[in-house]
Symmetry: C2
């Protein structure tokens, strides 16, 4: 079965995508010694609507803001971090140590989010055995066994299209439950495996369609 | 004004993100000599619902499928390509030639989508004057003038957070109307400038939240 994650059905994705910005506002406030913050203040800083801010905070935190004073900053930061899984470490492997793979390996934000890329895999002798940002690159033949041995739940595919399905098969045999697929092809995976297809070009197309209006 | 592109308000984004997969199915069918294809067939190949497929095709093409026979493959391919702007070239610059910048410079899919990255900018003497994937890297001091002189509508920011606002200011002064921002910070831009914030980590968080259910 092919499963394309339909973002429109995910009630939380937009909220989730904005949480890093909420955190930024809250952390800046905390650094200034601010103890409580209103939804209106958060909304103003983010150019958002305060009704939406209240709704989104309610989706990730059971704390209700006090009338007038607003939300307590420190507990709200903790709630958002919990919601984002910062304290729930997830081991991830990346397959394909080309330019995109290396960019992802160098992304320090993933670990802030509790996501730890623990190994990379490639076919090229030029990178196998090297370390990129401290993460070792193994031969792709070892992928399935590595995933099984280390109980890896998430795999990232940044290979060429021609290799993506074989890689997905190896990840699935290795017990991976979620695949983040940057290869522009449709992967066949069994029921129960989640595939999120990432198409960076379509983000750019969206932007360019907006400026053409 | 800070503008966070609220994807939930964009009726076309999910449709847009699926279009490359529609194209893939249609082009495979065309290569096999298939002249017409039904919404059900497309839906089956993509693991989607055929009602949604019909709705999305109607959003990008005025051609209605014939009862039983379905859609004519070749004209539908052309309609989707037009909708995606494949034939409407947009010049784009990228600021920050680090690992992510280089990965984007190496992404050949952008040009398939009519988006041409024409120049890169960086602060480092190690990369200034070099070519990456055929695209020259200029000093960031030249950014504003380059954008003005070449009527650049789109800028991509892949700099560290500390440089992102200054880069955004230079892009805006250079006449750029849309910014694709990979730096995890909120940019202040004037009304009329569109900012799309890309947070790759949140995609991973979304996946990991799904497997924890």
């Amino acid at each position: 079965m092919v499963f394309i994650l339909d973002k429109s059905s995910q009630v939380t994705i937009h909220t989730l995508q904005r949480m890093p910005y909420y955190l930024q506002v809250l952390q800046k406030a905390e650094a200034r010694g601010v103890k409580t913050i209103s939804a209106v203040t958060i909304a103003d800083e983010l150019g958002m609507n305060s009704v939406l801010v209240r709704k989104e905070i309610a989706a990730v935190s059971t704390r209700s803001g006090k009338p007038k004073a607003g939300f307590e900053v420190a507990p709200l930061i903790r709630d958002i971090e919990d919601y984002m899984g910062f304290n729930n470490e997830k081991k991830t492997v990346i397959v394909g140590a080309g330019s995109l793979g290396r960019a992802l390996l160098g992304n320090s934000e993933f670990s802030e989010y509790g996501i730890h890329i623990v190994a990379a895999f490639d076919v090229s002798d030029a990178v196998i055995g090297r370390k990129i940002n401290g993460i070792e690159v193994y031969p792709v033949e070892d992928l399935e066994k590595y995933c099984t041995d280390n109980s890896i739940p998430i795999g990232i595919i940044t290979t060429p299209v021609s290799a993506a399905q074989r890689v997905a098969d190896a990840l699935v045999r290795g017990g991976v439950k979620a695949i983040w697929n940057f290869a522009q092809t449709i992967l066949n995976v069994p029921e129960g495996t989640l595939v999120q297809n990432e198409n960076l070009a379509s983000s750019l197309v969206l932007l360019s369609r907006h400026i053409n209006k």
